[in-house]
Symmetry: C2
Subunit: 211 residues, 2 copies
DNA sequence: TTTTGATTTAAACAAATGATTAAATCATTT
DNA sequence: AAATGATTTAATCATTTGTTTAAATCAAAA
């Protein structure tokens, strides 16, 4: 006479429903928003609606939890970038276009990510991989090729990357600078970013023609 | 029979020589380098070679000391920008050139300043002023004028500023990203910035021709 | 020389914060 | 139902950190 109950109670041992997940969500939100130092373990516990000790029970420490979120964020980013940059089917121009569009789309949803990454120099290895991915990509081959063929001017690859990434990311880094008081509203800011999505590739192209 | 002594002992009551100044210097260095949270009052005291309590004796609190440094930094920046941007004697192109060159020169000496400013959203009023200075400057008048005369394409002023500032400042923000391990040395980085000093104005000009 | 007021110090306080502990609770198995 | 092992809690610990206090020191004035 237990089989009814057995079907109903599929969940095995779960008092606080998905406590581990709730902690991860809370940590993800708070860390990404405020950075490591500004977030207290008690904030995370409160946001997750769980007891403080649970945080240390599931994840060994605050640091550990942070690293998990950090890697998660970076992986998400890297996956998108790699896919674009190593694509052998698209032209240089198309890559820049897609790259910028993807960056801006991700950042529009996650506007605090760049500051988060910059603020926390704890985990460098991920960023290093990013740099490597860029420099050794098919994208870079295409750049060298275009220079050789005289389609674009000779440009330092570092400058090209700095320009693409800088033009795209910087507004999000400076974010609050352009919102406070007589500045921009969130809506205006987002509209501006959508406008830049179209413009940045054109600007980059124009740059590549500069002698 | 006191006049000899009066001349010799010009310094009035100074045991720890210039303690106040030493605290300011230490705070300036540490705050600019690491930001508010990462610097402990004990760090400052140690760096200044003074007793911890002196910090609270001369400056009421850590926060107060920080605000002083912050305003100092912003004022230095603002002074340069204002002078350039309101100059009625120089052309638009010259302004961009001088603006970029000055930014890069200041930042080359003070590479941690942008991160410092971004990291500490405590004092917003200064940055607001900066924005105002830009938007209501003679520089902006010249932009509008050039657009009217068809010398440059119609561009959203916000975009123009974001591009100039972004291209110039972003490398310093991403600083460490481009240095660790197989990245850049300090020397290489500085050389790259010097190169950009010449290139950014050209890039901006090219942008301004994009339809 | 004594007094006075500014400067400096060592010590302590109080709050915040990351982590741990020991006991309680609950679902499942025996 | 009792035992078991995972989950959860309240309470506590230990450290860090900004600040204060009370006393000591020192230079100048009286």
């Amino acid at each position: 006479m237990l089989y009814f109950n057995e079907m109903a109670t599929v969940k095995k041992k779960k008092k606080t429903d998905g406590a581990e997940e709730k902690i991860l969500s809370a940590a993800r939100k708070l860390f990404t928003e405020k950075g490591f130092d500004a977030v207290k373990t008690r904030d995370i516990a409160k946001e997750a609606g769980i007891n403080l000790a649970l945080l240390n029970y599931y994840f060994r420490s605050k640091e550990n939890l942070f690293v998990i979120i950090m890697k998660e964020n970076m992986a998400k980013f890297m996956e998108v970038i790699t896919k674009i940059v190593d694509n052998e089917e698209t032209s240089l121009e198309q890559k820049i276009e897609v790259l910028v569009a993807n960056y801006i789309d991700i950042l529009s949803v996650n506007p605090d990510m760049p500051l988060f990454v910059i603020r926390n120099s704890r985990i460098d290895d991920q960023r290093m991989k990013m740099r490597g991915k860029f420099m050794n990509s098919y994208f870079m081959e295409q750049v060298q090729d275009s220079i050789k063929k005289g389609k674009i001017e000779n440009i330092n690859p570092a400058n090209l990357i700095l320009n693409i990434v800088g033009l795209t990311i910087f507004p999000f880094v400076a974010h609050r600078m352009f919102q406070s008081a007589n500045g921009f509203t969130q809506k205006e800011f987002n509209e501006l970013m959508q406008e830049r999505k179209k413009l940045i590739p054109k600007w980059i192209e124009a740059m590549l023609k500069v002698k």
